[in-house]
Subunit: 465 residues, 3 copies
């Protein structure tokens, strides 16, 4: 199986670096001399290749950036701006769709409203699948583009330079998939992440939990929040350089090095209200518009303003001619970085070793009864998909508590008790997970679920509170 | 005028063979070594050509298979996923549309909801038109793909090998255009066709009539239907090898060679309920799902399962990993065979003799009064087309009875009487057709129609019962 | 900034001639021998280029003609048949859309329902923008195609030959943007324009005003209208060869040379009812159909019939096989002329001097208060655009009266008074425009508007009636 790009985690740091090196090389050869962030001309690298876009939710911008990337590489494109009107309307499953389309193209770029849809596609296709957005879940090439823009616009030499970056994430941090992907990638690269959400649109708890658990991030505050401060910071996340620093970065008790983070903001990453993902449009009024007036503060003199676009009012038009406003360059870098990703994924430079699928090292859990993913937007909930998808989870935590992550939408669930099928008994002791044979275990989100399923409390369980 | 492909009958057996030879050659040069039914890379055969898709009914799958075929041949593509929203919405006729688009492309691939629409397009375009589905009428490249899959998956050396094929057609045999095209092609190639329709969705009478009249098929039964038999066969159609066998193959009285047909099924061709063509979805319950369980019977050990896809429940997912399930290969062969068809149709190998339009040898009938095609889905019934299309018929039978076939949708009509315009007389004697001068004759479906039009019974007519 | 083509006026006569020379050369090399108005094969001129179509209103025909032109030139295409469903639905402005798409393509072809939308796009894009229709405003490449068809089908040697052309514009002259563009271009090239509108669908007053003011056209009548005449001519517009002829061509008093214009019609340019632009469909009955019967008149023996298509009844099908009916050739020439335009605009032949943006020499007027464009279809009225577009005007007349033209939709407004902001005074004397400093002036459509805004009449104003 080939490598697919479903989440930004499908690329290791080394691989990210490889993609960036290819992107730099593409820019060196193909940049518009007048606008060196923009690609001109067409290479002949992908002449043997066909890219298919499969958009179950229309998006001219994202579709075009992929199609342009493939055209610039010299490849062919077959394009579906609105797949929802066809196969899906006839009740075809995602797996069937990709097993047909894999015969028509060498790489599939898919956008779908269901969360985890791209994972299903990647599981079944014999060609690489690139997730171009699956509901509120992930949009990894947007993140790639954001990281590459930071890399170029901050003059970084390598990914290691991200650890010196102070970046503000501003706006709707609750629904934006681009923000969630970006925040994980920034944490992985050890940037200092300053969250400035619009009130009520804070980063969801499941994201902050992962930041701390999976990326060793520490929540910190450089000083007590005060009403007069110009940036209403919600929280700062930093990754300690070494384990001994973990205890230093405590909430409301930050060391000297953090004190001045807010006076040295490198980047404002602004996002719009995701009204199409459920954000109440009335929140728009709460936005402090980022414009020339806002950016006048001396400490923002060398900052950059990014935005995944489209904007709808949170970003002033008066910034367009300001060299600090790099959001249109960001859109331009999207072509370069997608060209680089395709080059790497399809091994267009013929290194002979196209990247293979990555195996996740986490243990798996699957049982037709017991806990199910209850995210209503999860792809496993669609009638067309239920007939063949097993509801599988990764076990992401199994020490003090048991936490499962849906393999598709990546929602996480804390488990209340471990059941033993053969004995019809359950235990609330997390340690039981390891001693229960894999084929005999069943996990429940609530004790009541175990009781309802006819399980009784075991001795091990009774021993615990 | 160039050759167009409106129905599978637009290709003679010799031409089918030529297309298959080209397809074999394409596979030999361009197949994916890991999946030898799938094309990789791009040739430079069609570099001078542009293909246009014109889909008045959206279909990502069919459109993609053509566009991929053209891209794999190195040609250009201009694509219209939803033409219905544009020219058609402005009231443009099909003839006008193709006479514009013929200037933009070298071949037009059209899908349209009206039956016979592709014939109209082919009549007016100066470039080849390929029918990618016209209502419930025809979808000849699907049939081509089906035949080529049989050719490859049964290891056939030539078309002659079809005469040894026992193929079950299963499911909705009433509405599926793919099934009707396929059944005629199989009859032409002398395969043994075993009909297993879902109850109420039998092959329409006009199809079985044509099987017998045009392809010399004989309806037969290997044994009396019994409730316990696992395959509820509706009918078997065979083509006698010689004329003397006609009488041998009688209904309910089959010779020994047919007795065991059901224990040697080579292929199950499964189709879904065509709910978008008027099939009642409640029929779905009557389907016996074709899955691993069904295929366990020893006599199906070497069978193949085909399906034009998408499936919606009539085919189990557990067959996907079974080597007998070849439906995804079938989709893959669709690219190869369309590449071959384009190569042949556009003379991409520069033989110097691109195929010319074929003349039908049947006599024609046309009169502005008298019988009209009353198929409500016929293209001649559309307001936009009525202003220029004459309602023409082929005379397909003129011995014991007179049968007309609409030149567009191919519906057939039995004629009750032949009128002579100059005398305002009608006769119910079929022989009158031949003796009435072409310009003086008018045909009526019912005697009453002739009477209503002011015609009176002639002496010839009175002489008959 | 590169040259964009928003209106036909964006091409000077010299440039039109250059484009036609390129078109002739393309035909000489790439015409289908059997149909010499039609392009075959593909060149390699645009191999380094990508064209993007951005259609906010669907149109298969126009989109295809551009995409085919680019494919025939060997370039790449990224296509958006229905942009309205995407960025626009998210509330993105036109300026933002093009500043993203300019990074994906080397030329943008845009259709949009708002009048002036293409001007906005051209103002912001760093690549050429071609207007493929902006509401009822302009569709310059249709005009280019019409002119080139006239050039070829009338056997013209150069643009100078247009001055000998007698062309009837027939049908809905009120709403058709193709007619308005064409009429200006014909006037510029000094053709004799004979208007034959369907009753109630006459050329709008703003168009006839511009004809006379900007192109020195004179309205004339060769004879008194009489009920029995076969062509119900509304008006004839001619451009005097020299200034002394201005007085000769008076209404109802034309010189001998005009007397016989109606008996020497070279071209009938027929248009359909623009029902989608507000024309009442009931007007259809008033159309005299142009068909074989109509064209039987001896004086029409060598006429040509053109139509921008689609037709819906105003043009008989019986003309299709008549060599005088050149409307399908006209559609074919559309590919050639668009290939030529792209070649010229993108400097594909590498002359080294791609055309730069043209500066308009008219003086500008802009003030946030005072007169505003009140065309409800003007792009400046859209909520998404108002946040950044200034409502600017060209001052097209400033002698006896002051006339402003909206820079976007080109609607014109006569100004009633000139205000002086510093003094809060207004004057109805047009001469005040020149003596009022640019930064101090404000213009009002009505005196009452000035009064409402708190301005009082000045001495200069009082001096006039």
């Amino acid at each position: 199986m080939p490598r697919s790009i479903v989440t930004i985690d499908d690329l290791s740091n080394d691989e990210l670096e490889q993609v960036f090196v290819i992107a730099d090389d593409i820019l060196a050869r193909m940049a518009d001399p007048a606008r060196p962030y923009r690609i001109r001309g067409r290479a002949k690298l992908a002449e043997d290749q066909i890219l298919s876009t499969l958009f179950f939710e229309p998006s001219t911008r994202t579709r075009f950036s992929f199609e342009s990337a493939m055209e610039r590489l010299g490849g062919g494109v077959i394009s579906s701006p609105n797949s929802a009107a066809t196969s899906a309307a006839k009740g075809e499953s995602i797996a069937d769709t990709v097993r047909v389309v894999e015969n028509y193209a060498d790489v599939i770029v898919m956008r779908h409203p269901a969360e985890g849809a791209a994972r299903v596609a990647a599981d079944y296709a014999c060609v690489p699948v690139i997730n171009a957005g699956d509901g509120s879940h992930e949009h990894p090439t947007q993140t790639l583009c954001d990281l590459y823009t930071l890399h170029k616009e901050r003059g970084m030499k390598s990914l290691a330079d991200f650890s010196g970056l102070n970046i503000v994430l501003y706006g709707d941090l609750k629904h934006g998939r681009t923000v969630h992907s970006l925040v994980f990638a920034l944490a992985r690269l050890r940037a200092c992440i300053i969250l400035v959400p619009v009130k009520g649109l804070e980063l969801p708890e499941h994201v902050t939990r992962r930041l701390q658990r999976d990326y060793d991030c520490v929540a910190a505050m450089p000083e007590k929040p005060s009403p007069g401060r110009d940036l209403p910071v919600d929280m700062i996340y930093v990754t300690p350089k070494g384990p001994h620093q973990q205890t230093i970065y405590g909430f409301l008790d930050a060391p000297a090095e953090l004190k001045n983070v807010l006076s040295d903001i490198h980047v404002f990453y602004v996002t719009r209200l995701q009204t199409e993902r459920g954000t109440d449009a009335s929140g728009r009024g709460a936005y402090q518009k980022i414009d020339n007036e806002f950016m006048k503060k001396k400490s923002y003199k060398d900052s950059r303003v990014m935005h995944p676009l489209p904007r709808v009012g949170e970003l002033g038009y008066d910034l367009d001619d300001d060299p600090r406003g790099v959001y249109f360059k960001q859109a331009a870098y999207g072509v370069t970085v997608r060209m680089a990703l395709l080059t790497w994924l399809l091994d267009l430079t013929k290194t002979g070793t196209p990247p293979a699928a990555r195996e996740c090292e986490l243990p798996e859990y699957c049982h037709k009864d017991g806990i199910q993913c209850n995210n209503p937007a999860c792809v496993t909930r669609l009638a067309t998909e239920q007939q063949y998808i097993e509801k599988e989870f990764w076990i992401v935590e199994q020490k003090d508590s048991i936490v499962l992550r849906c393999m598709y939408c990546e929602y996480e669930y804390t488990i209340a008790c471990v059941g033993r099928v053969s004995k019809r008994e359950y235990s609330t002791d997390p340690a039981q997970l390891k001693v229960t044979p894999r084929n005999d275990r069943i996990l429940f989100a609530q004790v009541q679920d175990a009781v309802n399923a006819g399980y009784t409390s075991s001795a091990e369980s009774a021993a615990l509170p």
